[in-house]
């Protein structure tokens, strides 16, 4: 099944235009005298159905990279990025060190964790590590419900932040022993006598290889290899402890007890419980032996389908909605040759001509979290994290609450009548609650590269206040794209 093709073709919907009525779409106003320049340019341009790409200029290319590798930028950050050689800028972005999430008040409450994460996305200077945390969250998925009242959401979020730019082998091994994943895909229930297939199947189908690159027998044999993984609580010295019991406690007391234990260095971790693990001989993806979880993962990573699958996922999120096989293979071979180094993967994407050429301009749709955080950063309103948590549902993105184990939609998949109203209404609410709005004309230059279509120009130009202008900018089609 060509899932990428599916996404595209099923979204090829109506062209709404007006032959002979519209003078121009996609013009660029340069003089920043909006009313005059836009009218003039509009009447002067021909119809090409596309925005004029600014990626040929250093500022345009820097803004393009920052919209994709980060959650947005201020004018000062953009100017500084634009002054660098592009290759150096990519290196700087990719090599950013992560900043830890500030302490979360109640780590057993997933909404508190998600709010802290939104806050961090909006405020941390280490933007790329944060963006990668969101990327892995969307690929190596989990659902907060399975954490019950344990701090597993926070722990998984911290895992992706700390090793999400290291090595995929390291990452997928850690994920296999991550307490939230252990619960989410039912490893916790999997025994030698009755291996549960859920993780084995989704690991191969969605996280690494893709359908068609394994058999049903591989799913069952893989389930045997992954049987017996359990979550334990260990103290600061790595010694097993009894977790506190929720039964007979109140949620507040329970959260406090856990919080104290964690402050003292206790943490949850996955282990292989020998008594529950099937140590017998299996045949898995053509390999025979008493395969354990680490060996099973190495076998998966040795499959030719693995690197292309991950490369494609990253390309669709960061580069182009429909990557060609040649592009996928080129990026995948660099990824594979580096022994699955994630920085190599991302550098390969950011420097590929498919990323830097004009056709890449505004070819990706910002997801709801990206859209909301970009708004916070553009308006310098980092205090909106709680609003983001509340507003995600209507745009169909509640972090740690994905529609299915396949993760978030991408690009066209985010677009619906309901979701677009929700974006407009988010913009209206944020603008109304921001007393000191920055200069909107300057924002058109920095946030939209000064490249807008005639609708956005018309609404912007008809505005009577800075609130109206900022609404036009944040609600515009241009700001939904990256």
């Amino acid at each position: 099944m060509g899932s990428a093709n599916l996404q595209l073709s099923r979204r090829q919907v109506l062209g709404i235009g007006a032959g002979g009525v519209i003078g121009a779409v996609g013009f660029r106003y340069l003089a920043m005298q909006l009313p005059a320049a836009s009218r003039e340019t509009a009447s002067a341009s021909g119809v090409d159905g596309a925005w004029t790409s600014p990626l040929g200029s250093p500022a345009g290319l820097a803004a393009h990279l920052l919209r994709r590798a980060t959650f947005g930028y201020t004018a000062a950050e953009l100017d500084s990025a634009a002054s660098m050689r592009y290759a150096d800028l990519v290196d700087m972005v990719v090599n950013q060190a992560a900043q830890p999430l500030p302490r979360v008040g109640d780590a057993t409450n997933h909404e508190a964790v998600v709010q802290a994460w939104y806050d961090h996305m909006a405020t941390t200077p280490a933007q790329f590590p944060e963006r990668m945390t969101l990327f892995w969250h969307g690929l190596l998925t989990s659902d907060y419900r399975k954490a019950a009242r344990l701090p597993f959401v926070l722990q998984q979020n911290e895992l992706y932040r700390s090793i999400g730019r290291s090595n995929f082998r390291t990452l997928i091994k850690a994920v296999t022993y991550d307490p939230l994943m252990i619960r989410y895909l039912d490893l916790e229930e999997s025994t030698a006598a009755a291996p549960n297939e859920n993780y084995s199947r989704e690991l191969m189908e969605l996280f690494t290889l893709g359908a068609g690159h394994y058999t049903e027998t591989d799913v069952r044999e893989g389930a045997r290899a992954f049987s017996g993984i359990r979550t334990v609580l260990v103290d600061a010295n790595g010694r097993r402890m009894q977790p506190p019991k929720l039964k007979g406690s109140t949620p507040a007391v329970y959260a406090q007890t856990l919080d104290q234990l964690i402050a003292q260095g206790a943490r949850f971790k996955g282990v292989l419980a020998a008594g529950q693990h099937d140590a017998g001989v299996k045949t898995f993806l053509g390999h025979t032996g008493d395969i354990d979880p680490a060996e099973a993962l190495d076998i998966i990573l040795s499959q030719p389908a693995c690197a292309p699958r991950i490369a494609r996922s990253a390309l669709v999120q960061f580069c182009t909605p429909d990557p060609s096989t040649a592009l996928v293979n080129s990026v995948a071979s660099q990824f594979r040759d580096s022994n699955y180094d994630i920085k190599t993967l991302m550098r390969a994407i950011f420097t590929d001509p498919a990323f830097t050429s004009a056709s890449a301009y505004r070819s990706l749709v910002r997801g709801p979290a990206e859209y909301m955080v970009a708004t916070m950063r553009a308006l310098k309103r980092p205090d909106l994290a709680a609003t983001c948590v509340r507003s995600g549902a209507a745009m169909d993105q509640l972090l740690y609450d994905m529609p299915t184990v396949a993760g978030w939609p991408s690009n066209q998949g985010w677009v619906s009548s309901a979701a677009w109203l929700a974006r407009l209404n988010f913009a209206a609410g944020v603008v109304a609650s921001t007393p000191d709005l920055p200069d909107p004309l300057e924002a058109v230059r920095t946030q939209l590269d000064g490249v807008v279509g005639s609708d956005t120009a018309t609404v912007f130009n008809a505005s009577e206040s800075n609130g109206d202008r900022w609404y036009a900018l944040l609600a515009s089609p241009e700001f939904q794209l990256k």
Partner: protein, 411 residues
């Protein structure tokens, strides 16, 4: 009469990105009435997301192999709501039982397709596109809307309700779909200025997503206007009980079905409504989780059917359930079941010819080491509903002809 403004557009092409949005005949502004929908029948699709376990929904209680395969999660014969001497419903489904007894449920047994897949996403794709070979790129309902039911492009003909994304079943190149999470939130907020400015930003958006974005806003604008006074024209006649504690479900089915009733009662253009309840991927703790979900389905569907009847529209509405697959015959070690194959489909409504169709697949003579062998192709169900209920041409949607199922009453 419809006043239509149809625009021919030149193709919007992004070279290099590999996307071509071809020239299409765009459908833009619509009148409040429709003149070419040839009947007032409505099909409601209820998707049970995650793979509902058919064997614990319709229980073959008389077959000793059932409890042998399911020693901990099996439902004993004395608890089952018996439909006949072989099968019965999960005890949490008294409302569906009542509808069955009234002759308003066609229960189709053993529904599936050749060479079952056990992946959620392939299974979804197959059901959504009515194509086990996974070559079709348009959803079966989208194709039906664009080609036949809604050739005029009325934005309130195909609706996805109680959700924020467009379901794949409704996606097709020329299908306009209204996605409405709830009526109060279906609005351009922020005052009169925003109500004008917001949609005005999306009249002729450039770029590869331009048509898609503009359609989303045009559809929304129309729907908001059409629904402005719907609360004056619809009051629920029954209580739709939300169940916030249902484990793993992402959607409030009660609210979605109440919204569906409101749409059907107030919008004569509505033909297809899609609602969804997730959480059926019961690899563990199926005994408690699936019961909670099915109880919710039972109460929400019963309330919806009663509400529709109270509004005098029982003859207009048929509801069909589906799920991407059933589950393995034998339970696993975690009081759950793994991905499986064939399962029952419910078709509910007064126009339905009640009873059991198809046969319960054998629990012992299975395919792929322990999965149920289908005996009714799911496209037979689609075909019957397209032809006999919606009175459209199934072949152009399904590409082939399938054995006929007498699901809809002919008199």
């Amino acid at each position: 009469m419809i006043t239509r403004r149809d625009f021919m557009v030149s193709g919007i092409t992004a070279t290099g990105a590999g996307i071509i949005v071809p020239p299409v005949f765009a459908k833009s502004v619509f009148a409040a009435t429709i003149d070419d929908v040839h009947n007032d029948h409505v099909l409601v699709i209820l998707q049970l997301g995650g793979g509902n376990d058919g064997l614990n929904t319709v229980i073959p209680y008389a077959d000793p192999a059932y409890l042998q395969a399911r020693p901990t999660i099996g439902i004993p014969a004395d608890k089952v709501l018996r439909l006949n001497a072989e099968i019965g419903l999960n005890p949490v489904m008294p409302g569906i039982k009542k509808l069955f007894d009234a002759g308003s449920v066609a229960l189709v047994q053993g529904v599936g397709y050749p060479k079952p897949v056990y992946s959620h996403f392939e299974g979804l794709y197959i059901w959504e596109h009515a194509d086990p070979t996974m070559r079709q790129t348009e959803g079966w309902l989208g194709k039906l809307l664009a080609g036949q039911l809604d050739a005029q492009g009325h934005p309130l003909t195909g609706c996805a309700l109680g959700q924020a994304s467009t379901p794949a079943e409704l996606l097709a190149q020329n299908a306009s779909v209204s996605v409405i999470d709830s009526i109060p939130t279906y609005a351009v907020e922020g005052g009169e200025g925003r109500r004008v400015a917001g949609p005005a930003l999306y009249r002729r958006t450039p770029g590869i997503y331009g048509a898609l974005f503009d359609q989303a806003l045009t559809t929304a604008e129309y729907g908001i206007a059409a629904l402005a006074d719907s609360q004056n024209r619809y009051t629920p006649s029954v209580t739709y009980t939300p169940q916030s504690t249902v484990y793993g479900s992402k959607n409030s089915l009660a609210a979605s079905l109440q919204l569906t009733a409101e749409m059907i009662v107030t919008q004569p253009s509505v033909k297809i409504c899609h609602v969804v309840l997730g959480g059926f991927d019961t690899h563990q703790d199926e005994d408690t989780r699936q019961s909670a979900l099915l109880a919710y389905v039972d109460s929400a569907v019963s309330a919806f059917m009663q509400d529709i009847a109270n509004h005098g529209m029982a003859d207009r509405v048929v509801l069909m359930t589906w799920s991407e697959f059933g589950r393995r015959v034998r339970e696993n070690g975690g009081k759950g079941t793994d991905h499986g194959a064939a399962a029952p489909v419910f078709v509910v409504g007064k126009p339905v010819k009640g009873g059991v169709l198809g046969e319960q697949p054998s629990l012992t003579s299975t395919v792929d080491s322990g999965n149920l062998q289908y005996n009714v192709d799911f496209r037979s169900v689609y075909q019957s509903l397209i032809r006999d209920w919606l009175r459209a041409d199934p072949a152009s949607v399904l590409g082939a002809s399938f054995p006929e199922l007498p699901i809809i009453r002919t008199v």
